[in-house]
Symmetry: none
Subunit: 401 residues, 2 copies
């Protein structure tokens, strides 16, 4: 009996509402031994009130010491063991731009890069071109024909785009053509098995043609591809939890992750305030609402402690409008830590707060890493967050007689 | 995706140094309800300073309530799930005396014992003979010939020795001949399957001959054998973590365990001070250093609370010399608890301290069982200690995009 089967067997419908507010990269580190983290430094009266009324803890996204990317980090929060469900970057990128990946497709993340006269890479991101240029260059790439394989080239933003190869018997065990270095040429694609070799042939044909088509377009005069991936078989949140689930996110990656687990993605909002507006609008149509807030991660990656503090305070300001909807369960957490001290994702457990009427109070009076360490939820794997949410929503029956 | 595969996939080389200082049987119990444990009683200013700067927790060696032997205890600390990797005692003993066990070998632990005129055991350890006598008796046993099987008899110390049976199709599913009782005869060896029956025949031939050869040598006039084991298939720490790993231990068992996971064993030191001398000497040649300190366990097994306190204080005195090497990660823990109150190994979680630059501080100001319970690492399975060490050493990349 695994976790998902347990959810399928025990779930009950009761009309309750669950809100999962993910502050990306929420967890942090103090800058000095006796200092406070970003979250502890921020003035967060609304989150603190939730901590007093709710129950706190620390989530371990994957396993102790493992730093997750956004994919594994979010899958865990949605209740999918990130070691069991592995999602390639190409799929995430494709889902993020609303490209409907099918069973005959291999998706890959593309980067425009700059090469010199000898074909050696001088800039892996082609000087981060404007998105409009990315759109134009993708139109050029869309003219490329590959024998026996249909090719879709779709812009993402700046130097990033998606390529989907559609055909029969295309595998995804293909190496990245991005050498992750400058001064060398893009790599030749090689397939690990017969099906992947079919894909590799198409890839090499495509990149050779790309070099020709973009020859006059420096700095965007070449491409690299990485993260070749087929669509994974994954049950939806509706199938597992019986929840009509909605995603209210701004950035493509998180919309893609939500689509992957079967959420409806609400398009439109570009700020957290607008996300909450959308939440209010669709409140009656769904049972589960995933709100994603990016800026706690991006400020952490910038190494900007003060900016991360500010972004947390801005998040806090929106909490009352979410609570005004009167959700049955409101969870605030992150998909991983992004300490500004480290300027990167990290393995440190993530502060997590669950508000519901039937929590066992734990005496925690504010929301922060140290308080969460003493919280009633303890330290636990993020994949158990959804069963806790379902329980506190009154949506799980008894296991066994 | 299991833990070892994750390590292989994510590991990165960065020249950092990890020191794992294992104080055997470190965890303890207070003698009275309101008392302190051995570790809490000991004056340990250097460990306390590490606790203030680092992060603490409690390791569960195997599973809650499970008391480990030295083998499972150490395998867990090295990141090998002790329920998955099971090592027979014979193998441990053989590795501990630097006997190179091969694929056609079955190794077993031997004890000299004393039998009366009827062949019934009167002393299971033959009065703990001097090691020199053990050496002489093993020479006698080495004269025994077993048809079709090569036999190696090697002294360990006192009443203990190793026998290795080398031949084709020798299994290790053979019962111990040690009845673990006096007043009875050594047991007949029986094999559970055809290959083990081959071994059992050789064993019974050997013990019958041993009784004859040692007839005049009371109190060392008979042998018992236990822990029949073949060499397990186990990936090295180099293969899993990419670490050049060195063991600096005094006692054979721990050297054997280290060899099993592919560590180089540095011979020579007989005291902790000499172990630290060796550490300094080999510092540039390795990435990972396992230092083993036996006396916290042996004093615990003696039931000598005061002596265990003293041994902990002596350990503390060596900590500054280890820190002077400027390791990137320094861990102090035990392979299990050995409360002097119990005079034995126990299941109680083990105080664990991890010092590194990127820890999340936890407000813990001293090293002890109660403090560790409030520590930032929480209670966690010992098998995750290595992934935490790798993460804090900056040696693990991100999992997933």
């Amino acid at each position: 009996m695994n976790l998902h089967q347990l959810m399928r067997d025990l779930r009950e419908e009761n009309g309750s509402k669950i809100v999962l507010l993910v502050a990306d990269g929420l967890g942090g580190l103090p800058l000095t031994l006796s200092g406070k983290t970003e979250l502890e430094t921020a003035r967060t009266p609304n989150l603190d009130a939730m901590a007093r009324e709710g129950v706190s803890g620390l989530t371990i996204p994957v396993l102790p010491g493992i730093t997750p990317g956004s994919g594994p980090g979010h899958l865990g929060l949605f209740g999918y063991d990130p070691l069991e469900f592995q999602i390639g970057r190409g799929i995430l990128e494709a889902l993020g731009i609303n490209f409907q990946v099918g069973p005959r497709d291999v998706a890959t993340r593309g980067n425009f890069c700059t090469v010199d006269g000898k074909g050696l890479i001088t800039d892996r991101r082609a000087g981060r071109p404007a998105t409009q240029r990315c759109v134009e260059m993708c139109k050029k790439l869309s003219t490329i024909k590959v024998p026996g394989v249909e090719v879709f080239v779709e812009p993402v933003r700046e130097h990033r785009f998606v390529v989907v190869f559609r055909g029969d018997n295309l595998g995804d065990a293909v190496n990245d053509t991005d050498p992750q270095a400058i001064g060398v040429a893009p790599l030749h694609a090689v397939g690990e098995d017969a099906e992947a070799q079919n894909t590799a042939r198409a890839v090499n044909h495509f990149t050779t043609e790309a070099a020709r088509v973009l020859k006059q377009d420096a700095p965007t005069n070449m491409v690299t591809l990485r993260g070749f991936a087929r669509h994974p078989k994954i049950a939806s949140m509706q199938e597992i939890y019986g929840l009509r689930a909605a995603c209210i996110a701004v950035y493509p990656m998180y919309k893609g992750l939500a689509r992957l687990v079967g959420m409806d993605v609400l398009e439109g909002p570009t700020t957290l305030a607008e996300q909450v507006d959308t939440l209010k609008k669709i409140w009656n149509d769904y049972d589960f609402f995933f709100l994603h807030y990016k800026y706690t991660d991006s400020t952490g990656e910038d190494g900007d402690f003060a900016a991360k503090v500010e972004k947390i305070e801005l998040l806090d300001l929106e909490v009352p409008r979410i609570r005004a909807q009167n959700p049955d369960v409101l969870i605030v957490t992150g998909d991983h830590s992004t300490p500004s001290k480290m300027r990167s994702h990290s393995w440190h457990p993530v502060p997590t707060l669950l508000w519901a009427r039937m929590v066992r109070p734990d005496g925690v009076v504010d929301f922060g890493e140290s308080s969460c360490r003493r919280g009633g939820l303890g330290q636990f794997k993020a994949k158990y967050l959804m069963s806790l949410a379902m329980a506190h929503a009154g949506r799980l029956g008894k296991y066994g007689a």
